[in-house]
Each structure stands twice: as structure tokens, then as C-alpha cells.
């Protein structure tokens, strides 16, 4: 087990190393002079030269990479070109809304999707099962921002049940905080729900066909207990795997959802950075989001032994 964890950690470090190389090279492999890209269209020759000096762009690539990586490992993601502030600080200022949105979405989506999938598998062919199919096809087809605007239009503008946009920090009260996260979480979570519910259903169907489920039913175990204790626990591995893989969906969606709902998070930071070509911010955010994704999937891998004691490494 320890050997497995060590091996898995090593491969995680390797993947993150490759991600770092990609993120670093993005700026250097692009057509044109990185200093000129960073400086923007209206920069003078001196400004470009200044940026080149400041970033040490005249050194050999490996030297630059080493210097950049060393800084990143010390938590220094560079300086924003536009605001002249450390990227790490800008990201940490914006992390709360993003984390809130991601967590509420995760909780709402997983709860909904797993219950939906379990019921659909239990009542195969029922209207719940068929409506799951509709939800999953729609979830994969309607983009986050279209769902978002529809929700805003119906619940905020027409019915006036919920505030239209924005974010309220959690230390200013739980009510306003959750009120503003409901619609974004639903918009962001729809595709995620579709993905998880579909796998839950498939995985549950497989387990429900097992002999021990029939035995449990025959000896009179309550249906609820059969479904949750006997079946769901054994159907867990593929479900948890998909929850992990789907985090990529959440991360990509966060960027769009924050723009639709005007939430001042990390996603908005990166969207604002695009138009200003603030490259250190884009690089820093990609690095952090990829890191989160890799880490979540590491945890998912390690959780298999908890779910299924037969899995030994």
C-alpha cells in the first residue's frame, strides 16, 4: 500500500512537472516575441526591451525554465503585468468565491446525481429512469452560459425569487451567501449531474444483478438498506472515478459561470487577463487549476481501497 502511494505520488509529481513545462512553453513557443506579446500592441521598443530585461528573456530557455520553476515552487507565480501585483496574491484574494461556488456545486451535484442514479437503477424503465436520460442528454448539450441566463431570466428577473448576480462573502452572513450561489451552482452542475447520474445508474444496474442482492432481498432486508448499503457501496468505484474526472468540467465551467453571474473569482481574474494579455496571471491560474485537478484524482485513486477492500496495492 505504501509502495503504491509512493509510486502514485511520483507519477503525480511527473505529470505536474510536464504541466509546468507546457505552461512555461506556452509563452515561448507562441509565434512572435514574448516580450512584445506581453507589452501589447502599442508598446515602444524601449518598453519591450524593459520587459525583456525584467523577465530575463535573453537567457537560454532551460535557464529561464529553472528560474521560473524555482520561483513557482516557492509560491511565487510572477508579477501581473497590468496591476504590477504578485499573481499569487491576486489569486488568493479571489479564491473564496471560486471555492464557494465549486464546493456548493460539488455538494449539490453529487447529492442530486447519486440519488437520481440510484432511483433510476432501482426503477429501471420508469418515468424517473427515462427522465434521467433526458436530463443527461440535455446536460451534455446545453452550454453553461445558456442555462445560466435562462435561470437568471426565470428565477431572478421574472419571478424575482433570487438576486440576479454577484457574490456576498460568507462572513457577511450565510443567507446572502447561499442565495447568490444557488443559480450558479445549478447552471454549473447540470453537466456534472448528467455525467455522475449516468454512471451511478449503470454501475448500480450491474451490482443489482448480483446474487447477494437477491439474497438480501430474499431474507427481507429493507429495500433502502439493500440499495444504500449492499448496492451503492459496491457500485462506488466507478462513481468516485467519474466525480474525480468531472472536476475538469467544473474547473472549465467555473470560468464561464463566474462571468455569467458576475462573481469576482479566479475565473473572472483569468477572463479579465485575456483581454489585457496579462500572461503571468493566465499561467498561474492554469497551473493552480491543473494542480487541483491532478490532486483530486490522486485522492480518488487512493480512496478506492476504502470503498473496495478487495483492491490492494
Amino acid at each position: 500500500m505504501l509502495a503504491y502511494i509512493a509510486r502514485r505520488l511520483a507519477s503525480t509529481v511527473l505529470v505536474m512537472g510536464i504541466v509546468a513545462v507546457f505552461v512555461f512553453l506556452l509563452l515561448h513557443l507562441s509565434p512572435g516575441d514574448p516580450a512584445a506579446i506581453i507589452a501589447g500592441d502599442n508598446a515602444t521598443a524601449e518598453q519591450i526591451e524593459g520587459i525583456r530585461k525584467q523577465l530575463g528573456l535573453d537567457d537560454a530557455l532551460p535557464v529561464q525554465f529553472y528560474r521560473w520553476l524555482a520561483a513557482v515552487l516557492h509560491g511565487d507565480l510572477g508579477i501581473s503585468i497590468f496591476s504590477n501585483e504578485p499573481v499569487a496574491k491576486l489569486i488568493s484574494q479571489r479564491i473564496e468565491p471560486t471555492l464557494s461556488l465549486a464546493l456548493t456545486t460539488l455538494i449539490i451535484a453529487v447529492t442530486l446525481a447519486v440519488s437520481f442514479g440510484v432511483v433510476a437503477a432501482w426503477k429501471v424503465g420508469s418515468w424517473i429512469d427515462r427522465s434521467l436520460m433526458v436530463v443527461s442528454v440535455l446536460g451534455f448539450s446545453v452550454p453553461v452560459f445558456v442555462v445560466g441566463y435562462m435561470l437568471i431570466y426565470v428565477f431572478s428577473i421574472s419571478l424575482r425569487w433570487l438576486p440576479v448576480q454577484g457574490y456576498s462573502p460568507i462572513d457577511q452572513g450565510f443567507g446572502p451567501w447561499i442565495e447568490r450561489l444557488i443559480l450558479p451552482s445549478i447552471a454549473l452542475g447540470l453537466a456534472y449531474v448528467a455525467l455522475i447520474a449516468r454512471i451511478t445508474r449503470t454501475s448500480m444496474l450491474e451490482v443489482l444483478a448480483e446474487d447477494y442482492i437477491r439474497t438480501a432481498n430474499a431474507k427481507g432486508v429493507a429495500t433502502r438498506s439493500v440499495l444504500l448499503k449492499h448496492a451503492l457501496k459496491n457500485a462506488g468505484v466507478p462513481i468516485v472515478t467519474v466525480i474525480g474526472i468531472g472536476v475538469a468540467l467544473l474547473i472549465g465551467g467555473v470560468v464561464i459561470t463566474e462571468t455569467v453571474f458576475n462573481i469576482p473569482g479566479v475565473g473572472r481574474l483569468v477572463v479579465d487577463a485575456i483581454s489585457k494579455r496579462d500572461y503571468p496571471i493566465i499561467q498561474g491560474v492554469i497551473l493552480i487549476f491543473s494542480g487541483v485537478y491532478v490532486l483530486v484524482n490522486l485522492l480518488v485513486d487512493l480512496s478506492y481501497t476504502l470503498l473496495d477492500p478487495r483492491i490492494r496495492y
Binding site: 511527473l14 505529470v15 505536474m16 512537472g17 510536464i18 504541466v19 513545462v21 507546457f22 505552461v23 506556452l26 509563452l27 507562441s30 509565434p31 506579446i37 442528454v137 440535455l138 451534455f140 448539450s141 446545453v142 452550454p143 453553461v144 452560459f145 445558456v146 441566463y149 435562462m150 437568471i152 431570466y153 428577473i157 449516468r198 449503470t202 475538469a248 474547473i251 472549465g252 470560468v255 464561464i256 462571468t259 455569467v260 483569468v270 477572463v271 487577463a273 485575456i274 483581454s275 494579455r277 500572461y279 493566465i282 499561467q283 491560474v285 492554469i286 487549476f289 491543473s290 485537478y293 491532478v294
Partner: protein, 292 residues
């Protein structure tokens, strides 16, 4: 001989329309998805003939609701939303199909080589793992932000994150067939490696790749729209569904049609492509179909 000759005559005797009906009954999703897609593609191609003017601004007619003259109403600059929605289909379909074609081609070549040659495999797969760890939209944003906004840049930026998924799929197929008796027989018979790859291994990848291509097309259309929406995609002067929605977002309460018309068009196209993909998957890859 006469028995063998009689059989094709029997099949030919069935009228064509009956065959089509049978195909439609057995593959409802392929037919539904394919039909919607064909209609939208025809509209997109024929746009200059009927859609009208998508570019001219008529400030006097701004934010008009849908009417006889403007089926989908007008936007905040008085442009015809119907014309813009129809022209928007051009960009979406072009990007979707190009990305699918390019990532399948690229992924196929890399996947074949990586699956067949062990030495290449370890390095290539680590690189692919790294690429896959970067969320597709963020990678595309970064790539587009580097270059000047253009449709080509968008296509390349969406293709790169899709390639590893194709590579993995092709590689898995190659690994499963390279031990097959007929491949070993070909090796033993002295068949050149390129011929083994092209003639004995490549055909096995075609069915799963067709299915994968439709899913990539759907995801490319969604990412293109997202990039345009975020202002990191197709230049704003070309009407796309993403930038139509982005430009209209301040007018959601006054003119919801400016957002929902392109939004529904977008969802409809992606839905059609997904339906086509699901249908093709059920038909071409029964093993996968059972698992989903």
C-alpha cells in the same frame, strides 16, 4: 447457382423507402440527429441566399421583439438576430468539423505509433497525461490569448487539448489487437511494419473513431461558443452564437430573444451531434453501448 443468384434479387425487390423506414425505426437517434444537423447545415450554407443582412446596424430599430420583418427580433445595435443566428451556424459547424477532423488525424497517427512502438509509448503517454491534466477551456484560452483572434487560432486551440483523448483511444485499440493471431501471422510472414499498421491495425480503430469524432465535434462547438462568449475566440465582427450572447448580456431583461435565440440554436446543434454520436455508438460499438 440459381439459389445464390436468387438472394440478391429478393433484397433488391424490397422498395427503397421500406428500407429507409426500417433503418429509421432501428436507429431513431441517428436519424433524428442526422436530420436536424443536415437541416442546420443546409441553412448555414444557403445563408447568403435567404438570411438577409447580419452586419448592418439600424439604431432606430434596436431591441425590437420578434416580428414578421425580424423573425428573431433585433439586438441592441438594430441588427437582425435571425440573420446573425443563421450565419453563426457557419462558424460553429466549421469549427466543430475542422476540430474533429484535425484531432482525429493527429491522434490517430500518434496513437498508432505509440501503441505499436514500445519505446515511443512511455514518453508520448506521459506528455499526453500532462496535456490532459490542463482543463481544455483554460488551455484553449491561453493558446488563443497568445495569437491574434481568428477562426484558425480557435480551431488549433481547441484541437490541441482534444488530441490526447484520441491518442488514448487509438492506443488502447492497438494494444488489444497487436497480440491478435492475424497480426502475429503478418509479422511472421515478413509484412513491413507500415503495412501492418495501415492494413491490419488501422481498420480496427475506425468504428470507435467515428463515434469519438462526433463527441469531439460536439465538445468543440461548445468550447468555441464558450471562447467567443468569454471574448477569447472568433473576432467580434464575425457573428457567432457565443459572441452574440456576450454582446447581448446586458439586455437580458429587456430583450431576452437576443440571448435565447442563439442559445437555443447552439443547444440544438450540440444536441443533434450528441444524438448522432449516441446512435452511431450503439450501432458501431455494441460493447461500449452496453456499458453506458
Amino acid at each position: 447457382m440459381s439459389v445464390i443468384a436468387a438472394e440478391p434479387a429478393l433484397i433488391a425487390a424490397k422498395p427503397r423507402s421500406a428500407q429507409l423506414r426500417r433503418f429509421a425505426r432501428r436507429n431513431p437517434t441517428i436519424v433524428a440527429g442526422g436530420t436536424i444537423l443536415a437541416i442546420i447545415a443546409a441553412l448555414a450554407i444557403a445563408a447568403p441566399l435567404f438570411a438577409g443582412d447580419a452586419i448592418t446596424m439600424q439604431p432606430a430599430l434596436r431591441l425590437r421583439p420578434p416580428s414578421e420583418a425580424n423573425w428573431f427580433g433585433t439586438d441592441h445595435l438594430g441588427r437582425d438576430v435571425f440573420a446573425r443566428t443563421v450565419y453563426g451556424a457557419q462558424v460553429s459547424l466549421f469549427v466543430g468539423i475542422s476540430v474533429a477532423a484535425m484531432s482525429i488525424t493527429g491522434g490517430l497517427v500518434i496513437g498508432l505509433l505509440s501503441g505499436y512502438f514500445r519505446k515511443v509509448d512511455a514518453v508520448v503517454m506521459r506528455l499526453m497525461d500532462g496535456l490532459m491534466a490542463i482543463p481544455a477551456i483554460l488551455l484553449a484560452i491561453a493558446l488563443v490569448a497568445l495569437t491574434r483572434a481568428s477562426v484558425t487560432a480557435v480551431i488549433v486551440a481547441i484541437t490541441i487539448p482534444e488530441i490526447p483523448r484520441v491518442v488514448r483511444l487509438v492506443r488502447a485499440v492497438v494494444l488489444s489487437v497487436r497480440e491478435a493471431p492475424y497480426v502475429e501471422a503478418a509479422i511472421a510472414g515478413g509484412t513491413p511494419t507500415w503495412k501492418i499498421l495501415l492494413r491490419h491495425i488501422l481498420p480496427n480503430t475506425i468504428a470507435p473513431l467515428i463515434v469519438q469524432a462526433t463527441y469531439i465535434c460536439a465538445s468543440a462547438i461548445l468550447i468555441e461558443a464558450a471562447l467567443s462568449f468569454l471574448g477569447a475566440g472568433t473576432p467580434p465582427e464575425i457573428p457567432t452564437w457565443g459572441n452574440m450572447i456576450a454582446q447581448s448580456r446586458l439586455f437580458l431583461s429587456r430583450a431576452p430573444w437576443t440571448i435565447f435565440c442563439p442559445g437555443i440554436a447552439l443547444a440544438l446543434v450540440v444536441l443533434a451531434v450528441n444524438l448522432l454520436g449516441d446512435g452511431l455508438r450503439d450501432r458501431l460499438d455494441p460493447r461500449l453501448a452496453r456499458r453506458m
